[in-house]
Amino acid sequence: MSDMTGDGIKISIRNLYKIFGKTPELALVHVRAGLGKPELLEAHNHVLGLRDINIDVHEGEITVIMGLSGSGKSTLIRHLNRLIDPTAGEVIVNGEDVLTYGSARLAALRQNTMSMVFQKFALFPHHTVLQNAGMSRRVRGETAAVAETEGRKWLDRVGLGGYEDRYPGQLSGGMQQRVGIARALSSDSEIMLMDEAFSALDPLIRTDMQDLLLELQRELRKTVVFITHDLDEALKLADHLVILKDGAVIQQGEPQDILLNPGDSYIMDFISDINRARVLRVRSVMEKTERPGTGTDGEVEAGQNLESVIALSEGDTNKHYRVMEDGKQVGLLHMRDLVIALVPVEASEARRVA
């Protein structure tokens, strides 16, 4: 297992099953034999939480696990730090199966390696903002001075300098979640688990917080596992996107890839409502080539979204652009391809059949 650390995989979830009920081990046999969630509930009165989950979380990336309520996403993230124990499977963190850990090593894992941000903030209401932010340090026995310095540093970093002596109840939701993030960051853990961290916030504040997370991530390069039910949020944040339905992974990969090649009708429905021009990037729709092309109308960046290119072309579908990355040409963008990519897959299937 130790060879897994080499290729940048931080957390590896292998064949993970979770069944809720009185005799999960017995029910597991039925699930492995192919029994679905509704059938299991009806015939055996057990709830299938997770079924055969296999996910690799790469170091320094944001892995977003997305699903609707009841899909098992919150259950899944709680397996990583063992707030919930699985029925079967492995959770390998830094090359070690955390399910074999005793209570002391588990506590060390939670104190040093993983920190967590919660949907409902879950701050300590009887502690000040500063005490909350430095909490992770005090838990592992560091001095009050260290906790205070670290807490102050990260509160400043998330934009809450000056609020140190307030109590969480005196802050707005967005500010409370900033404290939650500062608390997670001050533990200086390599892995951050974020359980619907922004779902309880207003849309505008949510966008702010997403930007804050991306900004922090550019600088800190943590391994983030982010849970959400919001596709726009998922597409904005994800380096690697995992879509969960009824406790099973139905598709995972690069978000652009999922958007252009949805695995099944469920995902097609899911992605049919989003603004594709804003989410898709030039890199995903360009023709990969190094030939300079003739009669190009200029240059665009590979990481640009399509919306900005449409603005640049003023809506002319006959234009062609050279696609640049790090000063080198990586492909050609034909506006005609771009327009087709904007049509959701379901409709484009219909076009192909016609």
Binding site: M116, F118, A122, F124, H126, V139, R183
Partner: protein, 350 residues
């Protein structure tokens, strides 16, 4: 011929019945009453009983037909003997265990009375101020004590206060850990709740009876135990409830950051349960004060003695004024602990 004779003949139990021999125990209740009234000579034949007045087949009625069945008085006698049989071993265990309670009560009583009034009253007023930080409550406490001192009830009030103080302290020292243990184990909670229900509903006089047998009436721990048994219930209940009511999300966060059970208990659960625990302590104080009058039956000093004197000697005035002083103590203890409670409530920091 007694009324149930036929039943025993029909079931063929006659032989077993007569093997019991003639009754030798104490008189039955009915016999005692009958003898006292002089209505029935012993051995007279029982009069015929009309059908509608058929007595319930109780121990005494059945005994009349069948000597082998014990009478009701034999049963109560057996309970008494049983209790007396375990009394001595129980005393060996309980006496040393509860002896510190006697010492604490006596010592505290002496201490409270040894401090002169002109130090004690300012001390109490200052304590109220530091606990509550409310001017109104503090002035009320000052006026109440001055009033009680003025009408010569100060010594009794201060004795009562001393008893309440010791009993509450011990209730908290025992009750909070029990409540914490209950909140952590559903099994213990299920076992404790009937016990707590019983302590709360059992009439006080009922558990005074075995206590009087166990301990001497001259020992302070007798009333101490009676008060504590009655008053400890709310602090246990509310500690258990308070800890169970702590927000599950907060507990999950504590777990996710790797807090040990001890860090979680003292750093999160107990502080967040504190408002409930304090409400339990407030109730415990109120209930121990309510027990003071009954405890005076078993030699507890204080205002209860005056109330008791009022009842015994029909001194209406003494009893009523002492009763009023108890109410005064209750109100001032309630107000000052509630004011202190509102200061520590973290939900107020919103």
């Amino acid at each position: 011929m007694a009324i149930y004779d036929r039943v025993f003949r029909a079931t063929g139990l006659e032989g077993w019945c007569s093997s019991g021999g003639p009754s030798t125990g104490p008189l039955t209740m009915a016999e005692m009453v009958a003898r006292a009234n002089g209505t029935q000579a012993e051995g007279a034949p029982a009069p015929a009983v009309p059908f509608l007045q058929t007595p319930f087949p109780s121990l005494d009625t059945l005994h009349a037909s069948c000597d082998a069945i014990p009478r009701s008085r034999d049963m109560t006698e057996a309970v008494e003997q049983g209790f007396l049989a375990i009394k001595n071993p129980l005393k060996v265990v309980l006496d040393p265990l509860t002896q510190p309670l006697s010492w604490m009560l006596d010592w505290s009583l002496e201490a409270f009375q040894a401090v002169p009034w002109f130090i004690m009253i300012p001390l109490l007023v200052a304590a109220t101020w530091f606990a509550s930080r409310k001017t109104g409550v503090t002035i009320f406490v000052a006026l109440s004590f001055l009033f009680m001192a003025f009408i010569d009830y100060y010594d009794d009030a201060i004795s009562t206060l001393s008893i309440v103080f010791v009993c509450t302290l011990i209730s908290v020292l025992i009750g909070v850990p029990i409540g914490i243990a209950m909140s952590r184990s559903n099994l213990l909670q299920r076992a404790m709740i009937p016990v707590l229900d019983m302590l709360q509903t059992l009439p006080t006089f009922v558990y005074l009876i075995p206590l009087i047998y166990l301990f001497s009436v001259t020992e302070s721990k007798l009333y101490g135990i009676a008060i504590i048994l009655y008053a400890i219930v709310p602090v246990i209940r509310l500690t258990d409830l308070g800890i169970r009511l702590v927000d599950r999300d907060v507990i999950e966060a504590a777990d996710a950051f790797g807090m040990s059970d001890r860090q979680k208990l003292w750093g999160v659960q107990v502080p967040l349960a504190l408002p409930n625990i304090m409400a339990g302590i407030n109730q415990t104080i109120m209930m121990s004060l309510a027990m003071v009058v009954i405890a005076s039956l078993v030699s507890a000093p204080g205002l209860g003695v005056k109330v008791l004197a009022g009842i015994r000697n029909l001194e209406l005035g003494t009893g009523l004024v002492a009763g009023f002083c108890i109410v005064l103590l209750a109100v001032l203890l309630d107000r000052s602990t509630k004011a202190a409670l509102s200061r520590i409530d973290p939900s107020d920091r919103g």
